[in-house]
Amino acid sequence: MNFIALKMLTGDRAKYLSLIFTVAFASFLLANQVSIFCGIMLRTASQVVDVADADLWVMDRETQYAEETKAFTDNALYRIRGITGVDWAVPLYKGYARATAADGKFRQVILLGLDDATLVGAPRQMLLGRFEDLQIPDAVIIDRAGYAYYFPGESLALGKTFELNDHRARLVGIAEASAPFATFPVFYSRYSQALNYVGRERNLLSYVLVKAEPRVSLDGLSDRIESETGLRAATTEDFKWQTIGFYLKNTGIPVNFGITIALAFLVGAVVAGQTFYLFTLENLKQYGTLKAIGVTDGRIIGMILLQALTIGSLGYAIGMGIAALFFEITLLHIPTRGIVLLWQAVIGTGITVLIIIAAASSASGGCWCSSLRSCFEDSEDERKRDCGSLPGAA
């Protein structure tokens, strides 16, 4: 009976294609919006995620998220280095500076000052130059997006100069860095040099990056650092989620995307579900005929499920294909770089489509039984008389 189910499905080409298109559209919208939302949220923690070497971030106790820092005294660094279980601890400056190119083009930039000796936190993926060259006086590394802003259309080249808050800086490397939330260019320099760029405050140490000794519990080490320094220590993962959580709680982004995702779900559930439901209702007489002929309930339900699965899987596959194509294209553009089709969104959308289709099938599955008697048609008068009180008898 499977081929009958598929022929019934594909018999009306226009309806069949509209069903697939609806599921494809809903799938695309769901996966697309969820991935963009997650991509944007992950951007808020870009600078945290990009530091792969450290286990713990030590910061002021009141720090809410990565962008907002309150500097603390350099003494804390030495105290942390003396705590049992700390393999190494290095300073990290994170702040903002104004970078002006030779042609006068300027922009607020994120400035990261890396430990002079070890350069912990340096970008992993260098597109041009070597990160070790940060040891050269006045050396800075810029991210690809920043370079494209200052020198649009130019091929990557080193040796260009900037003014960073009126201090000279020379480009020694171009790196690939995760896109920051505010899309500011990212500049890397040595810690000591970064302090020169931003001027003098009493305290300038934003974070201390800590590597734990092997087999030392990170939770236990965090507790020790917090109790001995009065600062706060968080794992990279915890700090990332704390930062993301801040944006989720304090911005309208989740509401905005939530509405879009809910709309996508509604489009999927209502339009795709209803279209399939109506499709099955239109076929009720055919199912009634099959049941009268002797096709069992189980096989009819199997036929409806096969139709639903066919539509669902084809629509889902097309939707995911379009979504993948979308992200392949947007990945090439600097403003949307780093936002990818997440596997979690792909799986989640698949489950959602399955639920929608299953709900629509079960809703329509309950109706075909009542269509059975309509196979026997009589004159209008007799039907009114004979069947008027029967549910679904038409």
Binding site: Q286, L290, A292, I293, G294, C375, E377, D378, G388
Partner: protein, 256 residues
């Protein structure tokens, strides 16, 4: 099963719909016997309960009270799924509006009962094609229902009713959607192809012009069988059951 054995026996059969004030009693004590080897007609005015009786005989509706036995089987002893399987193995249907599946070809439509009985698709289609050839639809077996005339569609429906060789064929107004000539041809075809000693055919109809094909006519009114006229009480078409021309000749003769 042999001719003159009872295929369907109804005794004091009642069928009601609804409850309380909205209760309608459509069948009010039907007594009826249908015999193997015969073509029995159920006739009567609109609202007399013919279709309801046919539905109860088919096991599509449950009786309210009374007795009904179909091919020696009491439906109340069967589960719903057993009843469906009983229908699949023993009953063929011809509907007024044909109810062919629009996406399937004529051959595929005719093969549906065999496919429902899990006969392999190739074998089912081969048998359907042979049957359609016999019914004069050889050149049209790949056509979709929408590409067939009303008479051709009804012939496909007859093929579908016959293909699994059931012992009981139920026809609901098989000629109502056809013009007189085509209706006559369809009935002749039905008689030629469906009448067998081990098979009973029940035809519900309003159409007085086809009663010549009946062996027995049960007249229904107000939910009861008022009278049964047996073979010989009405004028019958000469030679219908005696000399059988090939089926495709009958079809072509009336331009189906």
């Amino acid at each position: 099963m042999n001719a003159n054995e009872i295929a369907v026996r109804c005794r004091a059969l009642h069928k009601e719909f609804g409850d309380g004030d909205s209760r309608i009693e459509v069948l009010r004590g039907v007594d009826l016997s249908v015999y193997l080897g015969e073509m029995s007609f159920l006739m009567g005015p609109s609202g007399s309960g013919k279709t309801t009786l046919l539905s109860v005989i088919a096991g599509l509706l449950d009786k309210t009270r009374g007795e009904i036995e179909v091919l020696g089987q009491r439906f109340e002893q069967l589960s719903s799924q057993e009843r469906i399987r009983f229908r699949r193995d023993n009953v063929g249907f011809v509907f007024q509006q044909y109810h062919l599946l629009p996406a399937l070809s004529a051959a595929e439509n005719a093969a549906v009962p065999l496919l429902a009985a899990r006969v392999p698709r190739g074998a089912a289609l081969a048998k359907a094609k042979r049957l359609l050839e016999e019914l004069g639809l050889g050149p049209r077996m790949h056509a979709l229902p929408a590409q067939l005339s009303g008479g051709e569609q009804q012939r496909v429906a007859i093929a579908r009713a016959l293909i699994h060789e059931p012992h009981l064929i139920l026809c609901d107004e098989p000629t109502a959607a056809l013009d007189h000539e085509t209706g006559q041809a369809v009935m002749a075809l039905l008689v030629q192809s469906a009448k067998r000693e081990d098979r009973a055919v029940i035809v519900v109809t309003h159409d007085n012009r086809i009663t010549e094909f009946a062996d027995r006519v049960a007249l229904m009114d107000d939910g009861r069988i008022q009278r049964v006229e047996e073979n010989g009480e009405r004028p019958r078409a000469q030679g219908i059951n005696r000399k059988r021309p090939p089926l495709d000749v009958i079809s072509r003769g009336v331009g189906l």
